[in-house]
């Protein structure tokens, strides 16, 4: 009896925010799958569950920082595939892979800085700027850097397998990379000036500007960061699948990243959300995908489930974080 108020308070806290609801949904899905599918809750499967979404999670980290600062970067996939593919092409012409990878990283960085400058100095709404930048980057890559979309990891570089294929103490390096990047991003957002200013820009850009936040430099930093994160994710992806395919640019991957962000409870209005939201969204998507693969659910139904879940999350996002004159902005999603 004495427990009732406390549990009621807990229930209202859980169901009062989107994060709480997704947490409850994820926990429910986990329990249901664990009970219904014999092979689901085994350590091996749980590791492969997290591993299968950690590249998505890493991309979502980059996206989260941009979104919290009231932007959006839909050019991430283009940056990822073009920079990594180009690095592989350079390596195949005779350069050592390590040098080629530095060049690929530099390309990603420059692309991110240019996108940021376009938004910061050109005042172009982020959604349009990055949408256009994505097709420019992809077009440049396909026209000048490589003919074939599919680039295998150049042979003779076994060390490159380490980041995508090996395990440390039984945990895949991919998962460790995701964890480390989560910790770094969490530290940057909560304990540095960069993080505080990012939240300030996101919750109220005008106030942030008048209180002295270097808006333009910050915007450029956000997009440079998301481009670099995309590059790292691309390297892990290429290492684990032994190849990178530029066609990912045409896939639904960018929407999957937004699915993770929105599901996790990072409002697209900016200024709100933490890294734990990214982790929550990533794990929830992972549970759904893994469970549906084990159940052998047909492709079209999987897409249907993903679409319905995203729609529900967005509807809930707009109910929990209602738009008003103060929070809406031009080019807002």
């Amino acid at each position: 009896m004495t427990n009732t108020p406390r549990s009621r308070r807990l229930a209202s806290r859980l169901l009062g925010s989107q994060e709480g609801i997704v947490f409850v949904l994820a926990a429910t899905a986990f329990v249901v799958f664990a009970l219904a599918l014999p092979g689901f809750a085994t350590p091996g499967n749980l590791v492969s569950l997290v591993r299968s979404v950690s590249v998505l999670g890493i991309l979502a980290l980059g996206m989260a920082i941009v979104v919290i600062g009231r932007g959006i970067d839909v050019a991430m996939i283009a940056t990822m595939v073009v920079s990594v593919s180009w690095a592989f092409v350079i390596a195949r012409t005779g350069y050592p892979l390590a040098e080629a990878l530095v060049i690929g990283g530099a390309f990603a960085l420059v692309a991110g800085i240019l996108i940021g400058a376009l938004i910061a100095y050109g005042d172009v709404p982020p959604i349009f700027a990055t949408l256009a930048a994505g097709s420019i980057i992809y077009g440049l890559g396909r026209t000048f850097f490589f003919t074939l979309e599919m680039q295998n990891v150049p042979p003779g570089n076994d060390w490159f397998d380490f980041i995508g294929k090996s395990r440390v103490l039984g945990v895949p390096v991919t998962v460790i990379a995701f964890a480390v990047l989560c910790a770094l991003a969490h530290f940057a957002l909560t304990s540095t000036r960069f993080g505080w200013q990012t939240y300030a820009m996101g919750s109220n850009p005008n106030t942030a500007r008048t209180t002295g936040v270097p808006m333009r430099a910050m915007v450029i930093a956000h997009y440079a960061l998301s481009a670099l994160v995309a590059y790292v994710a691309g390297l892990i992806l290429a290492s684990s699948a032994s190849a990178i395919n530029a066609r990912l640019y045409n896939s639904t991957m960018i929407y999957d990243i937004l699915l993770v962000i929105v599901l996790g409870g990072i409002g697209l209005n900016g200024g709100a959300g933490r890294i734990r939201n990214v982790v929550l969204g990533t794990i929830f998507v992972g549970i759904l995908l893994n469970g549906m693969t084990i159940l052998d659910v047909p492709f079209t139904i999987q897409n249907l489930v993903k679409g319905v879940v995203l729609l529900l999350a967005i509807v809930f996002d707009s109910l929990v974080n209602p738009r008003d004159e103060q929070t809406s902005q031009q080019g807002d999603l």
């Binding site: 092979g39 492969s48 084990i294």
Partner: protein
């Protein structure tokens, strides 16, 4: 009678005389009227290739072959690249119908999307060759793999390895591409035709990878978690199945899981046979398909019959590549055939 004989002799003499002059003319060869007609019949014609997308081994290989022939025979060869967008491909096809080239080489994203437009193109007098992926409409010609046969071959190989008492289990996983493409629907039919006769084979997973290697990898990783005793995998395309293979390798089960896949016979696919990633690689031989395509293009451009009047097709032979016959002859690179 005598008169007749005389006439005959005169005729013979005349014939010999003509023959002699003829012989002296033969020193400089004979003009072959058919050669001239062949070249003039093709010159200035316009051929347009509408691939799924440029930028991968199959379409780049065919395009290289077709471009070579166009250059040799002086006709115009163009590519409209819809970059994997069925929408953009449909629009390209619509504008081609009003542009009226002499021939369209179409590579169908699925069996429905272009079907009606291809019929319209033929009605507008444009000849249509379909390459490797069919639509529901049969056109002037189809050149390419018989996907049913590929499915049967893959399934037969799997039955051979995983039939009752042969492998670690009788479990098989199938990785498909896009559920509506000809390569999927016909190949699955071929696979299940064979498996119906072998009810002991158990299909434990059938998932679409959208031709994405990373997705194929994570699906196979999950399947191996559920079925550590998996005996075989059937993949639908070598480009995606590098991912399937790397999941099998990561699980340390390369010796246990027999992986069959198919593709154009590019060196990259063959490398995966050499290093043990693919157990069996069914190649539909892109350079050969390119040559067959060229032959069909020339035949149709020269033919007097109207578009859509006679419909032919040719399913080209397949090469089953294993570690024993992975060699220069069976594998190609783009530079080789350019």
């Amino acid at each position: 009678m005598k008169l007749g004989q005389l006439a005959l002799a005169a005729a013979t003499a005349l014939a010999m005389a003509v023959g002699l002059t003829g012989a002296s003319a033969q020193d400089k060869g004979l003009e072959n009227p058919r050669s001239a007609a062949f070249h003039s019949g093709l010159e200035g014609k316009k051929v347009v290739f509408l691939p799924l997308s440029m930028g991968f081994d199959l379409t780049e290989g065919w395009a290289a072959r077709m471009r070579n022939q166009a250059k040799r025979l002086n006709y115009d060869f163009q590519i409209r690249d819809p970059a994997w967008s069925t929408d953009a491909g449909t629009r390209a096809l619509q504008s081609l119908i009003s542009e009226k080239p002499d021939l369209i080489v179409a590579h169908n994203p699925d069996i429905q999307s272009y079907a009606r437009l291809l019929a319209q193109a033929q009605a507008a007098g444009i000849k249509v060759v379909q390459i490797n992926l069919e639509s529901n409409t049969q056109t002037d010609s189809y050149v390419g793999a018989d996907w049913t046969e590929i499915g049967e071959q893959a399934a037969l190989a799997v039955v051979d390895k995983c039939g009752a008492g042969k492998g670690k289990s009788t479990k098989v996983a199938i990785d498909t591409g896009v559920p509506t493409a000809a390569s999927d629907v016909f190949q699955l039919d071929g696979i299940y035709r064979v498996l119906k006769k072998h009810p002991e084979i158990q299909v434990v997973s059938q998932q679409a990878t959208e031709y994405n290697a990373e997705k194929a990898r994570s699906i196979m990783e999950t399947v191996l978690q559920q079925h550590p005793d998996l005996c075989a995998g059937i993949g639908i395309w070598d480009n995606q199945d590098t991912g399937t293979a790397s999941a099998i390798k990561a699980a340390g089960k390369s010796d246990q899981v027999f992986l069959v896949t198919s593709g154009g016979g590019n060196r990259v696919g063959c490398e995966n046979v050499t290093n043990g990633n693919f157990s069996l690689y069914i190649s539909y031989n892109v350079p050969l398909q390119g040559d067959l395509l060229n032959q069909e293009i020339a035949r149709l451009l020269l033919s007097k019959s109207k578009a859509g009047e006679t419909k032919t097709m040719y399913f080209n032979p397949l090469t089953l590549i294993t570690k024993d016959n992975v060699n220069q002859r069976n594998c190609w690179t783009l530079d080789d055939i350019k």
